[in-house]
């Protein structure tokens, strides 16, 4: 197995922090908010590893820190602390001084300047958010949304960008004649598929999915999941899949992390976790899901 991504000690705290935080928060304490200083530990000391062409699931209840985790990987919002490194990827060879001489791993991406973080993000990652309005500009045409990613990567030909956008929209089953319409005219499922097209526009090896099917009705969920699966095979993507829906995780992911109150409480093969959950919280999660 060829590793693509490794991270450890990922932490994001909102608030001042205090000496009592460590004991008073986390899965054991049953909260991520410190009762002494009021700090919220959205994500605490999380480690993960992702292999090439593997899908890693992250499950947990709402507020468990799974979205925070995936957004840290995408450099969204306030920087947190920890180590996050990517293996050598051809798309990233152009980013200046990213890989130390002879090292198979990049520098710690969380401590890079924002300019290079954006380069890494544009070249290596795509993200699909739960709410399409986070990932799409609703006033800009669907084709323009895809073009934005391409423009950021230095494309300067309208014809080529439109060709690429049409190609991606076709793959994600959006009629290409609606390419110049803004996504706000589209249904929720279509918006989600435009988001996927946008995320894939730069041919990223890594796709981050943050609750992609939440809020869609069941038949649309199934179509979106089928699409993601097909694209994963076709484009040989590696994925981090965040969901509170164990069905989605079971369908897409080989390995899974279970999070609670900002910490990872259990990690392992998806089947193993679903068949034989060890942690009390995972047992609860599985039991409540399978009824």
């Amino acid at each position: 197995m060829d590793p693509l991504l490794r991270a450890h000690g990922l932490t994001r705290r909102f608030g001042p922090g205090c000496p009592a935080c460590l004991e008073s928060t986390g899965a054991r304490a049953g909260t991520n908010r410190c009762p002494h200083c009021g700090s919220v530990w959205a994500c605490r000391d999380v480690s993960l590893e992702l292999h090439r062409e593997e899908a890693l699931g992250i499950v947990g209840e709402s507020g468990s820190g799974k979205s925070t985790l995936v957004r840290m990987l995408h450099f969204d919002g306030e920087p947190g602390s920890g180590f996050f490194e990517l293996g050598r990827i051809p798309a990233l060879e152009g980013v200046p001084d990213l890989y130390p001489e002879g090292s198979p791993w990049s520098r710690n991406l969380l401590s890079l300047d924002r300019f290079r973080q954006r380069k890494v993000r544009d070249a290596a990652m795509g993200i699909v958010y739960q709410h399409p309005h986070l990932g799409l500009r609703m006033g800009v045409s669907a084709g323009g949304n895809i073009a934005e990613r391409l423009l950021s990567a230095g494309w300067r030909s309208i014809g080529e960008m439109r060709g690429r956008a049409a190609d991606l929209l076709e793959r994600t089953e959006i009629p290409t004649e609606r390419m110049d319409e803004p996504p706000r005219n589209f249904s929720g499922g279509m918006q989600q598929r435009v988001q996927i097209a946008k995320a894939l526009s730069g041919d990223p090896p890594l796709l981050l999915l943050d609750e992609v099917t939440t809020g869609l009705d069941l038949s649309v969920q199934a179509r979106v999941l089928d699409l993601v699966r097909a694209l994963r095979e076709e484009l040989r993507l590696s994925m981090v899949v965040v969901s509170h829906d164990l069905g989605v995780i079971r369908l897409l992911c080989q390995r899974t992390l279970v999070m609670k109150n900002g910490q990872v409480v259990e990690a392992g093969l998806t089947d193993q976790i679903l068949q034989d959950p060890q942690h009390a919280y995972t047992q609860l999660l599985v039991a409540s899901q399978l009824q």
Partner: protein
């Protein structure tokens, strides 16, 4: 090097020469040096009160005043015209506070201050053109937040500006920006060239002249040093183009290949005249 020499030239000692006190001039000149060093970068400075409302050219006036020497010969243009009220009053102001001579002939001037036009006559390396700027932020069209546009400049994150042009082309078949056309300066910053028509944008590219831009209300100034690349944003398959005046000429001096104003006549027809009156006068004399 010449650009730096110009800005670094000595300030007369009398405190009140050219209206601004020496402290203010130092502030402006320091900002100008930084602006020349980082072409296209907007340098903040402490914009002073002028005997003119902000937004009426106070940015340009402060730059001119901080550079003015008694031996200077100044030309002031308002949208191509030497004779508009604003241009005449600013000129009178310089005569009074600086004791400088004024002219309408570009080639005679050492300092030219302008609002929204660049003279037709190519300027030399012994001249400075000061442009008045109402909105220095080229990205304001796509991003209302100042904090966000500064971050975008810092990271050269210009995809949204390009997207704005892409959408224009998709919706209307061409880029609709007629003035304030965004340009990339020295391959780095996207700059607002002030509301000059597209016609004037190519004059900024690899010019012999130092261009200084001042926005008094917004408290920013920036510069294009001589021999600097200034490239209007364009796509490989949608090139930047200037206004088309083919087949038209100035009804007064007969000039072609100049920026023309269309003047409607009482009978509904229209005549075209040079927008640059100094250039037109020179051709007539």
């Amino acid at each position: 090097m010449q650009a730096l020499e110009w800005i670094a030239r000595g300030v007369p000692h009398r405190e009140t020469y050219a209206f601004l006190d020496n402290g203010a001039k130092k502030d402006v000149r320091r900002a100008l040096l930084k602006a020349v060093a980082i072409p296209g970068y907007q340098v903040p400075y402490g914009s002073r009160e002028m005997p003119l409302a902000r937004g009426w050219g106070t940015g340009g006036i402060q730059i001119t005043l901080s550079l003015l020497l008694p031996e200077d010969r100044v030309k002031v243009i308002d949208q191509g015209c030497d004779g508009s009220v604003n241009a005449v009053n600013i000129k009178k102001f310089y005569e009074r506070v600086g004791g400088v001579a004024v002219t309408t002939d570009v080639s005679e001037a050492t300092l030219v201050q302008t609002r929204h036009r660049i003279p037709e006559e190519r300027m030399t390396d012994r001249q400075i053109l000061v442009l008045q700027v109402p909105y220095p932020e080229a990205l304001r069209e796509v991003e209302p937040s100042e904090a966000a546009t500064r971050r975008m400049h810092a990271e050269a994150d210009y995809a949204r500006m390009w997207l704005h042009l892409y959408e224009d082309i998709v919706r209307h078949g061409e880029i609709r920006i007629s003035y304030r056309y965004p340009c990339t300066v020295n391959g780095r910053f996207i700059m607002d060239p002030s509301p000059i028509p597209r016609w004037d944008v190519p004059k900024l590219h690899m010019a012999d002249t130092l261009f200084l831009f001042g926005a008094g209300r917004e408290r920013r100034l920036y510069a294009v040093p001589p021999h600097t690349r200034v490239e209007p944003l364009e796509f490989d398959d949608h090139r930047f183009r200037v206004e088309d005046f083919s087949g038209k000429s100035c009804a007064r001096c007969g000039a072609t290949e100049v920026y023309l104003d269309e003047i409607l006549q009482p009978d509904g027809s229209s005549l075209h005249f040079c927008s640059d009156t100094g250039h037109c006068d020179k051709r007539m004399s």
